[in-house]
Amino acid sequence: MRPSPADILRAGFFSTMMWLKNNRWMFFTVFIWPYLLAGGMLLIGTAFGSLETFSQNVGVANPVVYMIAASGVVMSSLIIVDDVANFVVYARWVGTLPYLLLTPASYPLLLLLLPLPDAFLGSMSGLLAALPGAVAVEGVMGAARIGLILLFVYLGMLPLVGLSVIIASATLIVKTDENIASFLTPLMTLVSGVFYPITILPPVLQALAGVIPVTYVVQAAKLAASFTTPEVAPFLLAAGSLTALALGYNGAAAVFIRGVEKAVKRSGAV
């Protein structure tokens, strides 16, 4: 019997849920994480001036809500890279990789779909963790902002999936146990403009920021954290940029992973 794409997603979802069920302390760390990160950033930020100065420098109306949400955004956006790109490394380490590749499904489908539920749930929990903080500071408006940001996080995941699948395929072919994404995620955080404006970055990094999906998610998060009356145009621009990047990255991934199965089997990388 062959698994359908829905079966592969179901298996990924099942393992994540069982893992969380059997590791209940993980709930605590997932929910405390954005607050620790936001608290740390605000502490460092206020060491250089007041919250108002920070607000002016970063360009958001409510720095506290923004920092909580931004921490959630970064966590949620990058979790897809961690989950999908590191999936092969993790499976190889645990020893499940050959058994996953022995299931009657194509390698690209497995690489793409199996880690998705974990990434989806991880993103959601990251932002849901930020929700109580946002509601405490701003009430219903805070919740609305988080909801809007969550939408952009999921949109931002689309191009990151393509990028992550390319990394996962490369990891599978070259038979490395290196976490290739480990240098990529800090770089994305650095240039995405989450903790300071992109305009203060050198031109090369500004150009790099333009092709990193997280940048547009952060842009949308900033808009969501600063608007008083909703303006649709800036959000549409961010959404359009993310869609364009999604087409580019996923198109490249589709070409790249076509030869993965053969390359892996030739090199004996499993």
Binding site: M1, A11, F14, S15, W19, N22, P104, K265
Partner: protein
């Protein structure tokens, strides 16, 4: 139609040798040099060979995890190279009994995960999980709701076998399924595999270097050495190949620094020697002609005495499958024989 048909498989690997910080050199390793054999439907077939002989490479090609440089392999008429996805549907595989599961999931949860990945669902999946837990004895051992990280090696082996059987495949391919297991677990797994072949008509292909195991459970065996099949037949047929010879076994004690194998090999220039450590000392096994018995005993005793060792026990018996293996492969790499 054969359950498994392997024809002229050739595979060369490239390993990398580091020569300084940046310099590397690729070294070709010819793992398979034209391996051919057939496994009949409903039989338990053993692929025997010393370490590095090509057993696992052969298994990986048959199970679609590796592409050969040339040659062909079919499972139940399906070409594993041209149609790997269909080939994977008809086989259940175990590659390592120790790993391959999620540590933080229970035995049942792990099976359910892999079952879903086989397209199984609902009551059908739950019933199959119940059946394989029952068959492997994991339920009686309390493994169903225990986290995999708390499993003993014997339980891990049973769970690996349970996963291989989960989708009820007609073909089971198991790479060293009893390696490192205690005698009781090994016996349970052996008898289950034989029962599956006899009662349910499953075809079982196992690799092992446990000659006792192969002799006991395999209908036929193939001996592979240095990437080539050197013999195929029933254990009785293979033993007949060295009819008229005897297996001579020594239990010896020697200082740790002494390479007993080399010492005995020097004393008996043409003999094929197998050495394995046991609780009581080193177990040395030779294949000899009946008229050589006295001379062999004398030479081995003298050679060992010269390096500070001694013979504690000697036993001479009819040749076993292990003796055939020693005679055909030179005895290299034979590992612990567990009962």
């Amino acid at each position: 139609m054969a359950a498994i048909s392997v024809r002229n498989l050739v595979k060369t690997y490239y390993t990398t040798e580091r020569r300084g910080f940046l310099k590397r050199r690729k070294i070709p390793v010819r793992a398979l040099r034209g391996v051919s054999f057939e496994v009949r439907r409903g039989e338990v077939f053993g692929l025997l060979g010393p370490n590095g002989a090509g057993k696992t490479t052969t298994i990986k090609i048959i199970t679609t995890l590796l592409l050969p440089d040339s040659g062909k392999a079919e499972v139940l008429g399906v070409d594993v190279i041209r149609d790997p996805v269909r080939a994977r549907e008809v086989m259940g595989v175990t590659l390592s009994v120790e790993r391959g599961f999620f540590w933080k999931l229970t035995g049942r949860e792990n099976l359910k995960y892999f079952g879903i990945l086989r397209g199984m669902r609902g009551e059908e999946l739950e019933k199959r999980i119940d059946k394989v837990l029952e068959l492997t004895g994991l339920r009686d051992l309390g493994g169903e709701h225990k986290l995999f990280e708390e499993y003993s090696l014997g339980m891990k082996a049973r769970l690996a076998l349970a996963r291989a059987m989960l989708h009820d495949p007609p073909l089971l391919i198991l790479d060293e399924p009893t390696l490192g297991l205690d005698p009781h677990s090994a016996r349970t797994i052996r008898s289950l595999l034989v029962r599956l072949a006899r009662e349910e008509g499953k075809t079982v292909l196992i690799t092992t270097h446990n000659m006792f195991e192969a002799d006991l459970m395999c209908d036929r065996v193939a001996i592979i050495n240095k990437g080539v099949i050197v013999a195929v037949g029933t254990p009785a047929e293979l033993k007949a190949r060295i009819a008229g010879r005897l297996g001579m076994e020594f239990l010896v004690r020697a200082p740790p620094a002494v390479d007993v194998r080399s010492v005995i090999q020097r004393a008996l220039s043409k003999a094929e020697v197998s050495v394995e450590p046991t609780q009581e000392g080193l177990r040395v096994r030779l294949v000899i002609r009946p008229e050589e018995e006295e001379k062999t005993l004398e030479r081995v005793t003298e050679a060992l005495a010269a390096v500070g060792g001694r013979v504690r026990q000697v036993r001479v018996q009819e040749p076993t499958l292990e003796d055939v293996f020693i005679a055909l492969t030179g005895g290299g790499g034979v590992e612990a024989v567990t009962g």
